[in-house]
Amino acid sequence: MDGCQSTEGDLHVVAAAHHIVKALGATKNLTDDLRKILIDLDTHLSMITSDTDSKGGRGFVDVEEQLKQAERKILSWESDPMMIWDSGPREASEYIATVYEIQTLVDGLRRLSVHENREQKELLHRAMSVLQTAMSRLEEELIHILVQHRQQFEPKHMSSRSTRRDVVYDESFVSVEDETVKETSSRNCPSDEIGECIVDLVCADVIPDIKSIAKVMFTSNYGPEFCEAFIGVRKEALEQYSAVTEELSIEDVLKMEWTSMSSKMNKWTWSMKMIVQVYLASEKRFCDLVLGDFGSVSSFCFLEISKATILCLLNFGEAIAMGPHQPEKLFRLLDMYETLADLPQDIDTLFSEEASSFVRLQFHVLLERFGVSSTAAFEAFQVAISSNGSLYPFPGGGVHPLNKYVMNYIRMLPEYCNILNLLLKDQHVDVADQVTDPDNGPNLSLSTSCPMACHLRSITSSLESNLYRKSQLYKDEALQHIFLMNNIHYLVQKVKGSELRLFFGDEWIRKHNGKFQQHAKNYERATWSSVICFLKDDNPGSSSVSKSTFKEQCKGFRIAFEEVYKTQTSWCVPDPQLREDLRISTSLKVILAYRTFLGRNLAHIEDKCVKHTVEHVEKLLLDLFEGSPRSLRNSRRW
């Protein structure tokens, strides 16, 4: 609109147009956009007429009048204690319209050659001042809306995995009844699968209001102020929520003792999922809704809002990954690793810009570190088994605590099958105990040949070797066999009674059943052969032996038996079924032999030398392996 000469006719057209515009502007039910257009047009038309009248004619007075009106409206709100957006939609849209008016005035004034005309300069100055006041107010309103209409973010119930007991090795494990540890198959628990879920972090109703404020502020080049305020409020909201995970220094984490570290790792696992998959996903959507029209501003704001929190979470992860890799950490580490492994896509989506690449990088580095840590913890577990040494034999020959520890530990591994297979696939395994499963179906053979299965077999093999070494500490050969029988039986039971059986396979189970049964037989041979020896019939042909021989045999048997009784009542076979089986088997042999012996020598049976009846022997045998030592010497039990 430069000051070119207009003809009379042009001026009339302009005036007419101006009149129409004013008339239209007075009608009700105008949309914001239409109103803006009309105001725009009005101002431009005013400019045209003012241009031709350089002395500040009627057109120019219009501009000043407009500005005065707008100024009045804006300033009247300044002294009003109410928030504009609380006062109703009409007030809000009027305010915004006023601001657009001022913007247009400013634009128009700027386009004129302003430096020559002092009044124009002053008007522009005044308009800018009012604009600044309005922008300042809009910032306040924005913050108010964001704070007022924040939605409570209710996190879902924590998964039950956190309540699982940790498996830590100590000698007192003996006293723990492992039958009472019920493993809930929490893998399929629905709350574990949070998945992506978008919620409204701010009441959806006010989004149009926020957008309209954004639009007017950005149009006036006050975008930075909008972002400052917006980021400030949203960042604070996020930080208040994520205060669940308190910040800890690396030093603190490394010094933490196990139980509190374990619970923090749990919290982290859950927070990480919740924050990335739900909260940040929702925040990103919110930013897009509000700022989607302004290009990269949306992702910039999102990054500023979220980076401190996500980096804080990742830093905790790094501190954990740096720590010593003790076996008891394995499950928490695997939990954390799994959590991270579930999230790369989410992270990549949320932080897809170039500017946020450092977040993605840190995330992927951490993921890798966790893989390494988990593998290290697993290895530490394996080393702990083979290096667990004993100086003294385990009293009673029962199930060794190491056995319980290892079996309870590995019983939990199948849950992490997928992730472990991933971690272990490149690891060489020294499996002395190769299992071939020719008669198993294709599915099972996959189970039994996967990396984790190989490692499991290697672990039990190592455990068996260790148990064998421990058995050598017993001087009594029979006790060695009892010990091995007990422990291998325990091993097999644990495998059979859990998901482990899918990984060990039937062949392995069969083989190990055979093993403990062999030890049972060996025990019998070691103990009872020599006892029964006394009852042997040297002369099968003759009907009976001499009385003195009989007496000797009787005495020999009695002493041997009582010796066994004294010794072996303190031995332990914890498993009731196994105990029963062993007794029956022993009983059959011994009782049969004794009965036969007595039967053969009926003639010599006198009170004195036959101290125990068959029934009595039978009864005494029941006392064996109860774990409480008894003695028959000097007792007259009938």
Partner: protein
Amino acid sequence: MNANEYQGSFLGRISIRRNQVVVMDAIHEQELEDIELFQKHVSDRFSELSSPSDDDAVLSISWLCKLLDVFLCCEAEFEAILLMDRDPYQLSKPPFDRLIPELLDRAVKALDICNAVTNGVESVRHCQKLAEIAISALDQKPIGDGEVKRAKRALSTLMAAINLDDKDGTNAKSTERSWSFGRRSGNKDRVAGQFRSLSWQVAKNWSAAKQIQSTIYNLVAPRGAEASGLPSPIYTMNVIMIFVMWALVAAIPCQERTGLPTHFPVPKQLNWAHSLIGLQEKIADEWKKKEKKGMAGLLDEMQRMEKSAQSLIDFTDSFQFPGDAEKLQEAAGHVAELTEICRIMEQGLTPLQMHIREVFHRIVRSRTEFLDVLEKASLPVI
């Protein structure tokens, strides 16, 4: 000594070198040479840092990047000397059974400082954004009340952020300050409440000053025989690490810097340490001066920004439309300075964070390697 005597026992794992005195001497000779070279390099690198060019004033962003590079170079050399071809058992004997764990402890503290400083760079970035608002306001021609008000708001927020007492950077305080809009107060200047919560994202009781203090604790230069062996480079590396961390904390805002120690117990006669000690004293002097005025930190660009921002605030305070020509010119000068600083920050802050991150990763990796070596040395043989 008969090698056969040791076979079969775990002592047999000791390096065979023990039996070969001649070879030992040669190796020892080599080691001494390596140590000497290492310390010469240290001296050279710090000497270079002490005489910065115009672009790299001490404690400027680019200088800090150079400092971090120096750290990485020294660390690499140090690791090579300590770990390459080293019998693990040697590092688990005295005095290394004390020196190495101490070094690793300091390394962990350094990691926390890296994190805190990375966070601190964010607050510098925030200041940059505020300065940019002020610049865009005052770049308008002509400048009116509106622009001046806008600039003043941004600058006041900036100054408040700079002079924020490190302790106040917690969530709770900013919540109270910022968003208490129960009723609109008559006070238009909501400056103090507007800036974003500057939570430090570090543990609540963590203190940068205390961390530095605890790294200096127990730092004793090796004496006598130890001074010519491996303990010497270990000491050197400790000093370098502490110095780098200390310089970062002095420069960049992070939680709780009151009481930052200004004295390092490094003996002056160590010839590799001259430049380093010189730098340290220079920075310490600056720190003592600044400590009295406020906690902005010594980052060169931040100091310059503070100066320009203050001048501009003075300008805005005394502004009356249409404004004094001379004052306007002066203001334009400050705006130009501010623009330049923002440009430097825009280009330099991200690389600085990446450098810190690299140092972080290197320390983690190095620590892991040392721990692995120590573990090998302590593995029992059954």
